[in-house]
Subunit: 213 residues, 2 copies
DNA sequence: GTCTATATGGGGATAGAC
DNA sequence: GTCTATCCCCATATAGAC
């Protein structure tokens, strides 16, 4: 009868799922603790407040995802050097950025990515601040790598391109069911590798082509 | 002392502003009616419920924006025909789709567009349904126009491209302050025409280039 | 660490006078 | 159409026994 996971982890899992389903305001401590098979007071005991719980839900996933991004980027740069080429392709860099996000959506934290997208447009300033902090290093490293991949591009252009890319990514991860609806079932996200390649192709072309004209 | 606008309109204005600032759950009927200089019971009298108020806030802006999109699209197609060309350029079609959205953000309803983006990832299914309904005709007309502009593209590819485009658009309208932050002031949205052209260039290139490879 | 019971506050909605 | 007063519910958080 003893649960396999400690209460703290069960609370995080339940919170993640219910926040994704009902929103941060829509999921109450009552439903979260009930879903986790814990007592109503458990959240306050383990985290201190609901706000702190939200914070932890994000921290638990964002850190590993960004580590994966940086590792993939290192691999891309290393492989480029081994081949004796002086710069990576934009596609390779962009894939390193996008793949961990999409693959997070396919594993354990499928619901979690909804939360990231929602946090981007959240009225709670603490959430936006949290994201900015977590992404700061990633933004710097990938900004530099893209500048290397596209030496003739202005820094300003690269920032804008990354901005559009993040937008397409978030919308893709969160709202593909809406696309499925509008395309009457033609477009689905069952083949996530195919989605990744579509997205990479789109933003890479946008980035290279958008700069010329 | 009599207010220039009827209570109903003042309620809609206040609701739009406060929803944008504090979210749909964060802005209460009490703060909305107070901000509008109306009585607490006014929302229920004029709209029936808070949910119906939200519905009206969206309807008031979405309808004109989508009308503008369709008019611009008609103008593009007409001009194409006058020139004796058999198909419009993807850029022209995409500009007709994107311009009304960005220009809405520059006029009266600057705060409103935050709400659209938030509705996309909202846990309230009624909001998503509302958007789908309002966009149905636009999606069909622009889908056909893009197919005309890019005859060799598969329908599936066009749907995905439009999906990425909407994502980039929403993120741009809502979160450019976040970009300004990350770029340390290099990128701003003060010149909205320039933003539009950047976005058009990006998604047009993504659409044309993403299909080939 | 976990539970019960409760404090405290705010929410949406409505009845009924004006 | 507008106002007051109020109903009723649910939220977060905590105190204190176990």
């Amino acid at each position: 009868m003893t649960p396999a996971q400690p209460t703290r982890d069960r609370l995080l899992d339940a919170a993640e799922r219910l926040f994704a389903e009902h929103g941060f305001d829509g999921a109450s401590m009552r439903t979260i603790t009930a879903d986790a098979g814990a007592n109503l007071a458990a959240v306050n005991y383990h985290f201190g407040s609901k706000s702190a719980l939200i914070h932890e839900v994000f921290g638990r996933r964002l850190a590993p995802m960004n580590v994966a991004r940086l590792q993939l980027l290192d691999a891309v740069l290393e492989e480029t050097a081994q081949r004796g080429e002086d710069r990576p392709t934009p596609r390779a860099v962009l894939r390193a950025f996008l793949a961990p996000a999409l693959s997070l959506g396919r594993q354990e934290g499928r619901e979690f990515f909804v939360l990231i997208a929602r946090a981007h447009s959240s009225p709670h300033p603490e959430l936006q601040a949290h994201i900015v902090n977590q992404f700061a290093e990633v933004a710097v490293r990938f900004g530099a790598a893209l500048q290397l991949a596209l030496p003739s591009a202005a820094r300003e252009d690269l920032f804008w391109s990354m901005h559009f890319t993040v937008g397409a990514l978030c919308h893709t991860v969160v709202n593909t069911q809406l696309l499925t609806l509008m395309s009457e079932g033609l477009c689905t996200d069952v083949d996530e590798d195919a989605v990744l390649e579509r997205l990479v192709a789109f933003v890479a072309a946008g980035m290279e082509g958008g700069l010329d004209s």
